[in-house]
């Protein structure tokens, strides 16, 4: 396959990081476009370095390519310099493998990892010459689908995406492709295909649902336009992770990417149930992979990629039951191959510090902790099962072991937060400094550095805080100032996030179909790459809201009643609204909920029949 058959040297020589656009990496899949029945463009609405680091894309790319009848290619958002050249020269959005225009594909599939990538989806469709709205597409256009965590509230994109895949895609995607091949043979209309796949569990076709609103702007009903479409669309999960497809080869990029290493997925889901954390709920139930299988998989990946580093990718890696055994075996296998084991942030205790010494043997890089809130009261509200004593013990062990750089992550604007809780963040920072000072000079490492970082709380669907109001931008700025003034120690650095981006995130995380117009309007005004600080144009967003007659505060800063119908209520992520409501009430009482291994809290995920739920029933 010849490359660069469309992009001239003149262009590539004049853009930043041209290797983003040239493909040809090791383990890339090339096929003859004429010999396959389905061409699938897997689109990541961000730049190459970000998209290529995403594990889900790596899995699905190779999974689809296992099929002889299908060819999956990769598409990333061209950076602004490249986009400018493409538009100047009439070059449409292209796929990296064939460099063919995306518009000739059968499917264009977007990965929805963060809300602030939505304008990039619109921009990519436009660059591809594909109509932005579902209603304007015809038989000559590809089907536009999307999946990933943000698909749990698909409504802001309901007019843009033809169908969504909810939950884990490994099985659904194959079922959809099978139906497509059959339909393509005697295809009548687009609607006919969408009708056929609407019976596949996990597939949501938004155009088949009618949304009615109340006078106050809240959702009244979401009903299917025909009785045969499911009233609730249920996510799919893979029940047995040991026997699900996992690629033994992955693409090895030329250029450096965000996570440039092998990734081992230890388990899916999380046992914890921190009340702010969407990932902690929507990926339930917890399902682990067998450590022997993982080691075997790691060996194969190492042989096929030549990567010099392997990392463990899961939500809360410390909760993996076989972690000790797995890491011992991995180190044993990988050390002679000179492969480094990169550890994710683990719950810090003597076991994990010991492991870090064994695995990394390198300079003692920084340790990361996420207490999330400054006082025990507020940590109980969010069900973060961490107490101050544990934290101080952990950092003390770390300081005794020679570590001297510590990062602590917090959120501002959590429900019930008071200024006392915020002052608690500064106090905690000070106590960490004191812990360091309590370690004898000869034992501790030099150059203490404590970093306190705050992000702004964003209420998300399918969490116990889905009813909550986000603090206004002004309130968040005020809280940041307050905290900044409270920090006195020269050992402590304070970092904070710009609250404007979190505000928009809050709008689209819980947005309804009306917010979709705002996305398109903002894009028309030049918004894209919003999560890249230098590209973010907040004033354009505000203009877009005004012109569409949509009040962003209604979505971000409004506290919802318990009986409000949410735009995502017809989506079933396996977590019952009743459970979330109960958790919300417990939050206000500061009551903790135990993790899935201790006892079942009845979240609803047990209906998926995973082993952890059965044991607990």
């Amino acid at each position: 396959m010849s490359m660069n058959n469309r992009i001239s040297d003149d262009i590539l020589r004049n853009v930043e990081k041209p290797a983003r656009y040239t493909g040809n990496e090791w383990n890339v899949i090339q096929k003859d476009a004429n010999s396959v029945k389905v061409r699938f463009a897997f689109c990541f609405p961000d730049v190459y370095e970000v998209g290529m680091s995403h594990l889900g894309m790596r899995i699905l790319y190779h999974l689809i390519n296992e099929r002889e009848d299908s060819w999956c290619e990769r598409v990333f958002a061209p950076w602004v310099d490249m986009e400018e050249k493409m538009r100047e020269n009439g070059i449409p959005l292209f796929a990296l493998e064939s460099h063919d225009p995306v518009s000739v594909f059968d499917f264009v599939g977007f990965s929805l990892q963060y809300e602030m990538s939505y304008t990039n989806i619109i921009n990519m469709l436009d660059l591809a010459g594909i109509p932005i709205r579902t209603a304007e597409r015809t038989m000559e256009h590809p089907f536009v689908c999307a999946g990933g965590p943000c698909a749990c509230n698909p409504e802001p994109l309901a007019d843009i995406i033809d169908f969504f895949i909810l939950g884990e895609g490994e099985e659904v995607i194959n079922e959809v492709l099978d139906i497509y091949i059959e339909w393509k043979g005697n295809g009548t209309s687009r609607e006919d295909f969408l009708d056929k796949i609407s019976s596949v569990e996990g597939v949501y076709v938004p155009s088949f649902y009618d949304v009615q609103y109340n006078d106050d702007g809240t959702v009244k009903t979401v009903v299917p336009i025909k009785d045969k479409y499911p009233r609730k669309i249920r996510k799919r999960i893979i029940k047995d992770l040991d026997n699900v497809y996992y690629p033994e080869k992955v693409i090895v990029p030329f250029t450096d990417i965000v996570h440039n290493r092998m990734m081992l997925e230890l388990f899916r889901g999380c046992i914890r149930g921190c009340r702010f954390c969407q990932a902690g709920f929507i990926y339930r139930p917890v399902r682990e992979k067998n450590p022997e299988k993982l080691v075997e998989c790691a060996e194969k990946l190492e042989e096929s990629t030549g990567y010099e580093e392997i990392s463990l990718a899961s939500l809360s890696t410390s909760d993996y039951t076989g972690l000790g055994k797995l890491t011992d075996q991995l180190i044993e296998v990988m050390e002679p191959r000179k492969v480094n084991l990169a550890l994710p942030s683990l719950r810090v205790d003597s076991f994990s510090l010991n492991l870090m010494e064994k695995a990394q043997k390198v300079r003692k890089s920084g340790l990361t902790f996420a207490p999330e809130a400054g006082t025990q009261r507020l940590r109980d509200v969010i069900n973060k099962g961490v107490n101050e004593e544990d934290l101080i013990n952990s950092v003390t062990i770390a300081f005794e072991g020679g570590w001297s750089t510590v990062k602590l992550y917090f959120m501002l604007g959590l429900p019930t937060e008071t200024y006392e809780d915020i002052a608690g963040i500064a106090d905690l920072g000070k106590k960490v400094v004191d812990a360091y000072m309590s370690v004898p000079k000869e034992k501790r490492g030099k150059g203490l550095k404590v970093t306190l970082s705050t992000s702004s709380f964003v209420p998300k669907p399918f969490t116990p805080f889905q009813w909550e109001a986000q603090d206004t931008i002004e309130m968040l700025i005020e809280k940041q100032r307050f905290l900044k003034d409270k920090i006195k120690s020269r050992y402590i650095t304070y970092n904070w996030h710009e609250p404007e981006l979190s505000f928009l995130e809050a709008v689209f995380a819980r947005g309804d179909r009306k917010t979709g117009d705002v996305l398109i309007k903002a894009w028309e005004k030049g918004c894209k790459f919003d999560s890249w600080g230098d590209q973010f144009k907040f004033e354009k967003w505000i203009e877009a809201f005004e012109e569409c007659g949509v009040d962003p505060a209604f979505y971000a800063n409004r506290k919802r009643d318990y009986d409000e119908v949410f735009p995502w209520d017809h989506i079933d992520m396996g977590i019952s609204k009743r459970f979330l409501l109960k958790e919300n009430e417990k939050a206000y009482k500061g009551e903790l909920t135990s993790n899935c291994r201790v006892s079942c809290s009845g979240c609803g995920a047990a209906t998926f029949g995973s082993s952890i739920c059965i044991k607990n029933d």
Binding site: N4, P18, A19, T22, N24, F254, T305, G306, K338, V362
Partner: protein
């Protein structure tokens, strides 16, 4: 330390990757091929490999060189075959030889030859182009602005141009072949030469491609191929 010196080509498919990217490609290919390369000691072991003169992004080459430290023994031909099976398209080892000298390739390079392809708006007579080149090279000095990290300074590149001639001319395109100083003591990038030439030439031409055709080390004042046996033996050093 046992060593090998390789000559490889770098084609269109990989011309947009950086020098650092290229080193990573080789490092991973060596691992996949399970070649007995020597690794550095320390916390973060890296294969012992030294590359010749880095290529600018966008430039192709048929004459790249790299040295590898070897642990144990392996026949150069075997090394080459196994490495080639693990290199992405666009990279290919052309030759491999045992290396006895301690001098590494990066430190020994003194000159590089290039083919610069220029596209023209109209069509020019060969005689006209020759005249233009002559005019250019016969200037008493060729001053260009060279950017360093902190400042821009004027440099006379003429002493670094050892040979310059007109290559093929065709409708709308012509080539310049040149031999330039390269390496640590004096180094002239072909892009800089082209810019200076284009300035003299005036409107109507555009850089199309640059291709490296050779890299040379110097032995007793004579230019030699880095894979020449006299170079690899290192006659100046003890056996």
């Amino acid at each position: 330390m046992n060593g090998l010196r390789l000559k490889f080509l770098r084609g269109e498919e990989v011309k947009y990757i950086s020098h650092l990217d290229l080193m990573r490609v080789f490092e991973r290919a060596l691992r996949r091929a399970r070649l007995p390369v020597a690794y550095s000691k320390g916390f973060n072991p890296h294969p012992e490999m030294v590359f010749g003169l880095p290529l600018s992004v966008g430039v192709t080459s048929e004459a790249e060189y790299a040295d590898f430290g070897i642990e144990g023994t392996i026949e150069p031909a075997d090394f080459m075959r196994r490495l080639n099976s693990q290199l992405p398209s666009g990279l290919k080892v052309l030759e491999a030889k045992k290396k006895f000298t301690k001098d590494n390739i990066m430190a020994s390079i003194t000159m590089a030859s290039y083919k610069i392809t220029v596209s023209t708006e109209g069509s020019y007579e060969r005689g006209f182009l020759l005249e233009k080149l002559k005019e250019f090279i016969e200037r008493p000095s060729i001053i260009v602005k060279k950017e360093t990290k902190s400042k821009v300074r004027d440099v006379d590149i003429k002493p670094m141009i050892h040979h310059l001639c007109l290559g093929d001319t065709e409708e709308g395109v012509f080539t310049i072949n040149c031999l330039l100083s390269a390496g640590s003591s004096a180094n002239l990038k072909p892009e800089l030469l082209y810019d200076a030439f284009a300035e003299t030439f005036g409107e109507g031409i555009k850089l199309k491609a640059i291709h490296r055709t050779g890299l040379f080390v110097s032995r007793n004042g004579v230019m030699v191929d880095p894979l020449d046996n006299t170079v690899l033996k290192g006659t100046n050093s003890k056996r």
